[in-house]
Amino acid sequence: MSGPVIIGVPSKGRLMENAHAFFRRAGMTLTQPRGGRDYRGTVPEIEGVEIAYLSAAEIAGNLAQGAIHLGVTGEDLVREMIADAERRVLLVEGLGFGHANVVVAVPQAWIDVRTMRDLDDVANAFHAKRGKRMRVATKYVNLTRGFFMRHGIVDYRIVESLGATEGAPATGAAELIVDITTTGSTLAANGLKVIDDGVILRSQANLVASLAASWSAEARATARALLDRVAAERSAHTMREVRSRFKAADAELVAEAKGRFGAIAPLGGPTSSGMLTLLCPPQRVHELAIFLREEGAETVMVASPEYVFARENPLYEALVSRLGQ
């Protein structure tokens, strides 16, 4: 007896769309049986999977507690909300969307402050002269504390802010902020600038596994099937299939293609008739094709593989090695 593998997926907005697109690329159609406002979903392609639609923050919290097995959420939330994140969750895979940086930003008028070192000095002087610590408005209390500690900054106070953080210096609620930004334009519009070495975290959406969830044998098998699809999609996504047939194709030529263009020969070969199938990173395809023609190929065909299923599944193996037996 064991329950389904539960995957937390963001319940609204672009994050949800992107997460759905990610699963679709990996051959999994997330469906909400009772329509768009349903907070439970299923994956018809894989048995024993249940989707829980939650906010990105709830997903991070549920991963930490082991209430869900896997989840799609931002690395910023994982690092902020989960104490000891390394021990409690595994970042399986960056998903290439939801990019944003958590940064330290100060008023542009502080033309004397460019580095964290400057900030340390200013914070120190501020405390000494005013008898008050400089205030940092943020919702990233833990990330801020860790980062400031690494930079030896002690003369500050955190003012928790749950929205419109970038306005805090202008309203006098704080002297500086730690916030998430994609382009920096909101910061600039509020008269703020990012400190040169003040990027705390370059975050993106991640597929995250909980190490605290109940990982029964069935749950592991389900996760394996699921991560197999993710890994196959990733391999396919990062490779082009290059095919040709010509007499001069031999092992030596394959070795050269591997060495020069990062190609692999997933099916072995070439065959005795010179039939050759290679996988090659997209940006090297043209060079590889030219090379093959120079070696004697009449025709070189290039296609995008839908999936590449390999015996080895690095994503699943990383998870299992962290879960132990």
């Binding site: 008023p107 003369d155 006098g172």
Partner: protein, 379 residues
């Protein structure tokens, strides 16, 4: 169950007897509120304390915490009552700290002595009462570690470093552990800062001219000033850096003195001899400070303590901002208990920071009951 209850009672009895000992020595027992405004603790101890605090809030959104120690609550109560100094207090009760596991609630006893101007005698009395407390629990010869934050301040002042460096060194000394990095930076000739042009333009300016210059810079760049620091403060820092830049890195001499200072340790008499020699070699005006150090050692000896058993280290500090002079920690001599059994020191700045109308010299210590029992073999 019965046995456990008996042990619990005996334990309480022992801690109670300790406070009675303090009362007999003239300390007035107080019981400050358990629920305290969180703001004061965070402002005084910094954000690092936050993860150790048990926080809550009242209906108006004011942040409150369960008291993490009894020093600040005792001092606050004293100020609120407008009580006269000198005043001496003692206490026994729970304090609450999140140590990442464990009960989170710990019994603490201790004393605070407020307003005595004879600092050296008060320091010595504080230490000897701490030693007596350890003995009370059967730890006759605890390992004694001692340092002196005030001595380091005096040295930094005597070295005549730029104010920014003085502040920085004192801050990092209070945190302990990162001074090596500071010294490495001190030795280097700083790379020309990006604002080198600004600094060169400002060299030799008076503060008013500098302020006008910075205001001009900002208005040319179309930057409006928002919150926090004033144009004057920004100008002032530029001036400070301009003077630092002129020195092109700090002399190897000053660095060598700091390094030599921080390597001094031994019993207080040995340390004093080394300190006097350092002051003489480096021609530093530290005589008055070192005389007081010697006086304090004399009082400690007169109190019956074995001075040669004290390990004094110039680099030893306690990671709390408000200590200002002698600091000490007593440990289990058999090293079975890793935490300090008793810890304390002089904190002359705290009362002003808490709102006392005039400076109040203060010294005290806190004793961890469970650790003392363990070290004394009661458990």
């Amino acid at each position: 169950m019965d046995a456990e209850n008996r042990i619990a009672r005996a334990r309480d009895g022992r801690a109670e007897a300790l406070v009675e000992l303090y009362e007999r020595a003239g300390y007035v027992r107080v019981e400050p509120a358990i629920l305290q405004p969180a703001d004061i603790f965070l402002e005084l101890s910094g954000e690092e304390l936050r993860r150790r605090l048990y926080l809550t809030s009242d209906a108006s959104g004011r942040e409150l915490c369960l008291r993490p120690d009894l020093t600040i609550p005792t001092c606050r109560a004293h100020i609120e009552k407008n009580a006269p100094v000198p005043a001496t207090y003692c206490y026994l009760g729970p304090v609450f700290r999140d140590r990442g596991g464990g009960a989170g609630e710990y019994a603490q006893a201790g004393i605070e002595s407020l307003g005595r101007d004879d600092r050296e005698a008060a320091d010595a009395e504080c230490l000897s009462l701490a030693l007596e407390s350890a003995k009370h629990f059967g730890v006759a010869k605890p390992a004694i570690r001692m340092g002196d934050v005030g001595l380091f301040s005096a040295l930094v002042a005597a070295l005549d470093l730029p104010p920014a460096w003085q502040r920085r060194l004192l801050k990092d000394f209070n945190r302990t552990g990162t001074l090596a990095a500071d010294l490495a930076t001190l030795k280097q000739t700083p790379a020309a800062p990006v604002q080198a042009g600004v600094l060169a333009a400002l060299q030799g300016s008076d503060p008013q001219a500098a302020r006008a210059f910075v205001a001009d810079l900002l208005s040319i760049a179309g930057i409006s000033t928002v919150g926090g620091r004033t144009v004057g403060e920004i100008a002032e820092r530029f001036l400070e850096q301009a003077s630092l830049g002129a020195a092109s890195g700090l002399g190897a001499e000053a660095t060598a003195v700091l390094e030599r200072y921080l390597s001094i340790e031994g019993d207080p008499d040995e340390a004093l001899a080394a300190l006097r020699k350092l002051a003489k070699d480096a021609k530093l005006e530290l005589a008055a400070t070192l005389d007081r150090f010697e006086q304090r050692t004399g009082f400690i000896a007169a109190g019956g303590a074995d001075v040669s058993a004290i390990r004094f280290a110039t680099a030893f500090g306690r990671a709390l901002d408000y200590y200002s002079g002698m600091v000490f920690e007593l440990y289990d001599p058999k090293d079975r208990v890793k935490w300090p059994l008793i810890a304390g020191g002089r904190y002359d700045r705290l009362m002003s920071l808490l709102g006392a109308p005039s400076p109040v010299p203060a010294v005290g210590f806190a004793a961890w009951i469970t650790e003392l029992e363990e070290a004394g073999g009661a458990r």
